[in-house]
Amino acid sequence: MANPVVQAVNVTKTYNRGKPNEVTAVKHASLKIDEGSLVVLKGPSGSGKTTLLSLIGCQTKPTRGEVIIRGKKVSKLPEKFMNQHKRRHIGFIFQHFQLIAGMSVLDNIVLPLIPEGVSPKARNKRADRLLEQFNLAHRRQFKISSLSGGEQQRVAIARALINNAGILLADEPTAHLDSKLTSDLLDYIEQLKQSGHTILITSHDPVIYQNPAVDRVLEMKDGQITS
């Protein structure tokens, strides 16, 4: 039995607490993800998938409950240490890619390494390897705004991988892609899985959750994990 690298214990997330527009996005959700597995979180929009992914990805703290990443209760850590843990163990691919438009591909990819104090030489070496892997080497100095959607997606993946993080989280990665690009993406995800990454994807796209490479499919509804 493999170790659970990601664990959520009874997490609840309430936004705008005490205000009239209070919303509980995730209610008492618990999950365990084993090392090296590919898990898909599916469900209709507004079911709390993205919030749960944010909680696991250390983008926000749960109102109640605990998130444990590689044995560390990150939800209880001060922000600085949570961020450090996040930088070292989690790569996040955002739904809208969240790249900085005015910057070059290379500069976007190395963003997570800057606060770590990695020298530009080491940064570029690592980025070049990823650019090669994702077939972006010819776009190295291009501005993000001049790239196509598929290229932006690949830049986002490369940025998530630059830390050599073992855990990869992707929020609706196929939402902006056509079927050709979606199958390309699936190829990449399979490659990553084979290289030992633990991957958690939220999606309501059947192409993703019906893919044979997927180990587990969890379904969410109204902030709760139903299966």
Binding site: Q59, P115, S119
Partner: protein, 409 residues
Amino acid sequence: MISGSWFERQKNIIDYSLQSLLRRRSKNILILIIFILLVFAVSSVLFITESLTQEMMITSNDLPDITVQRIVGGRQANVPASYIPDIEEIPGVEAVETRVWGYFYLASLQANFTIYGMDLNLLEEGEYQKIVNWKNVPDESENQILSTRPDFRMIVGQGVFELLRDIQMEKAYLFYQPTWEKPIPFDIIGTFKTETELQSNDMMILQTEGARRVLELPPDEFTDMAVYVPNPEEIDNIALKIRRYFPELRTITKAQIKNTYSSVFGWKSAFVLSSMLAAIFAFLILIWDKASGLSPEEKREIGILKAVGWDTDVLLSVKLWEGLILSGVSSLAGILLAYTYTFQLRAPGLREIFIGWSAIYPSFQLIPDADPKSLLLIITISVVPYLAVTVFPAWKAAITDPDVVIRNI
């Protein structure tokens, strides 16, 4: 995961700050230029004020302790010699010096020259000798009119000398007023060295007896008196006594003259600064508008950086470096440009406003004088508020959870 040293981390942060400044190039260059202009304008006014005031203050301690004038009918009148023994008797007075001086209006140049009468033989002795460029006095045989009569000699300032040379009177000058029977010739036996031109430029120092003739001053009367008091604590008391004994006399102490010295350029600088006030405020508002607050794009950028694992303090250091680089570079450049403009280029434009219009100008090379306190003040009032208006909104954006960014585009 490779982690670099603290130093490498700071270098990365500075790199990112500069990159981010360059990415918003047009906005930041505008701020930079306006910032430099503002600092430049304010500091050149301060520089020229301080250095002009300093020019006057340098010699203020060599002034007579008390200048005594006689006021009749609200105007200055000649002082009869009868006052001298009475003032000399006041305890604490070391000496009373009578002075003969006045102005000579040269209609063709529309300029007033200051005529000061003194014993020129005094200038030939000791230290005083060095302030005069002595000229060869023409022989009696050479010219009948320009005889070396001891009472009709004079030493002129460089500015006067140049004007007289233009009208070929550099050896002797004929003073003339329409009411006089005939002109009075004076031999020019020397000029004051250019080093003293800020004081001597428009001066004609005549032998006392000759000066009396030119100024039409009756014998036994003087223009005013200089009273010397060895004990500086006593100056005000003695001035008070003089006024009590002789209500018609007016006393001007050294301290009062220094007061006018410090205020004359002070109010000019206030005048210049207040006339620039509208422009200064307009530019400040422009900088405020450009620099403060964050555009949605900048907010998004901060969110993305937080989402990829940047700490709040790293984000704040980035913003701090951005502000520090921009405001530091511009205030330093502004001050250095102001220095070059004021002391190396001699403040064209500003100088005319400060010294005013005049018929003869001294060549006017100012001795640089910069008060480190005011430099520090300029830097503080330009850098600190800029940092405050740029870092505070960034801090507000940086403390929000990054998942807000993930939800919104």
